[in-house]
């Protein structure tokens, strides 16, 4: 482990996992918080199954499905960018990070449209506890998406100058790890909020 905490850049077949200790610690802490949210949600749902099922039916699962596909594709683009960085293909890195960013933007727009439709139909975080959870969990996830997009944009802006350096590689792998984490979170959020209990 390097003194600055950065792992030596992982390469294909390397024994070094991607990401620095600090980011893995952050991901673990963040996962713990989300786990508490999910457990609290499930506990509340047990006590109000009819309310939660009825509220869930008001959500459009197509939005959830579209967002899932968007984030999965965006994660794939980040994987391609990390692989391209290992091969020092700066143009390819920029292209794939750009696509990842645009897909993140598509997710953000989709989410805002969904929120807007809900609010216009009179549904707010105060409507009932299901919607308190819906808005809270998806809003916190949304903030993670925005943070990830900022990091992706930063890496893309510096790709042409810094691809090939160990520092850039370690940073990009950290961003990739974070973005995959954001994706994994959504894979849990989508079925829990949109699908659980649907006939």
């Amino acid at each position: 482990m390097r003194r600055d905490g950065a792992s030596p850049a992982a390469t294909v077949g390397s024994a070094n996992p991607p990401g620095t200790d600090g980011l893995w610690t952050f991901v673990f802490m963040d996962m713990a918080i989300f786990l508490m949210m999910f457990l609290t949600f499930m506990a509340e749902r047990r006590g109000h199954v009819d309310l939660y099922t009825a509220s869930q039916l008001q959500l459009d699962e197509l939005f959830g499905l579209a967002n899932t596909l968007i984030l999965l594709t965006s994660s794939w683009m980040v994987v391609e960018a990390v692989n391209a960085s290992r091969r020092r293909a700066a143009a390819r890195v920029s292209r794939h990070l750009g696509l990842a960013f645009l897909l993140g933007l598509a997710f953000a727009v989709s989410k805002l449209v969904e929120y807007s439709l809900k609010l216009q139909s009179g549904i707010t975080p105060a409507t009932n506890s299901f919607y308190s959870f819906y808005f809270f969990i998806t809003a916190v996830h949304f903030l993670h998406v925005i943070a990830g997009m900022i990091c992706i944009a930063y890496c893309r802006a510096h790709a042409s100058a810094r691809v090939g350096t160990a520092r850039f590689q370690a940073g990009l792998e950290n961003v990739g790890l974070f973005w995959h984490f954001v994706d994994v979170l959504w894979i849990f959020i989508f079925p829990m909020l949109y699908l659980l209990g649907r006939p």
């Binding site: 600055d4 200790d21 600090g22 508490m36 609290t40 308190s132 916190v140």
Partner: protein, 245 residues
């Protein structure tokens, strides 16, 4: 002030943290009958008097006055913490000062709000129930919805620990934990608008989880490493004193 005296002051400030936690649990939580607090948004004024202030008047009054006294122990503890977040040149940078500011404001809140609830308890039978409920609700909104003063304290501490690779007092996980806890406070914004469920004033998330992780996920681990640091320095200096004696 000589170094040994400074160390003793630091030790005293460090112990303010555990004293605050234990004292606040005893006075605010137990004596104040706040486990959980009454569901104020789902109660009428008459219910709040009958089921809370009227029923536990003396307990609440004593508990809240005790909380108003002990709540301010949070401030010296936070200020000692700020002195441990120095820049490379020994100065107190923006993160340290932000942590200090958050600690001062949080300490004020932890003392001021119980004083208001003590007022409600002491006057419960002599002023209009609507006025009691107004003061009670207003104070809870101040207590909970100004959570950002503690969030910025946590975020500043967390950022210092995570970004300053040279510091050796706090392990990195405490920094990430502090940031995560600060974010977990965000649903407190829902408290005034809901009358039941996990985000109500006494709800699973907005009361039990938020207070538990603030006390046991932030104060206990950070307080432990603070005490360890000041005691380490005290042990280094004490052989000099004992030798002199």
């Amino acid at each position: 002030m000589d170094n040994e005296t400074k160390r003793l002051v630091s030790i005293a400030f460090a112990w303010c943290g555990p004293l605050f936690v234990l004292g606040y649990l005893a006075f605010w939580a137990i004596l104040g009958h706040n486990v959980p607090p009454p569901n104020m948004m789902g109660m009428t004024s008459a219910q709040l008097i009958a089921e809370y202030y009227g029923k536990y008047q003396n307990d609440i009054a004593i508990g809240m006055i005790g909380s108003a006294t002990l709540g301010m122990l949070y401030t010296p503890w936070s200020l000692l913490l700020a002195t441990m977040l120095r820049e490379d040149d020994g100065s107190l940078g923006p993160l340290s000062l932000t942590e200090a500011a958050g600690g001062i404001l949080t300490g004020w809140l932890l003392a001021f709000c119980p004083a208001m609830w003590a007022t409600c308890a002491l006057l419960a039978n002599s002023i209009s129930p609507d006025l009691v409920r107004t003061l009670h609700v207003m104070t809870w909104i101040i207590y909970d919805c100004t959570y950002m003063i503690t969030t910025i304290q946590l975020a500043a501490l967390g950022a210092y620990i995570v970004l300053n690779k040279k510091q050796t007092v706090f392990p990195a996980w405490t920094g990430w934990c502090a940031i995560a806890i600060g974010i977990a406070f965000v649903p407190l914004v829902l408290m005034p608008f809901v009358s039941d469920g996990p985000f109500a004033v006494g709800g699973t998330w907005n009361f039990f989880f938020v207070f538990a992780i603030w006390l046991f996920g932030f104060q206990v681990p950070v307080g432990y490493y603070m005490l360890k640091e000041v005691m380490k320095h005290a042990q280094v200096t004490s052989p000099v004193l004992s030798h002199a004696n």
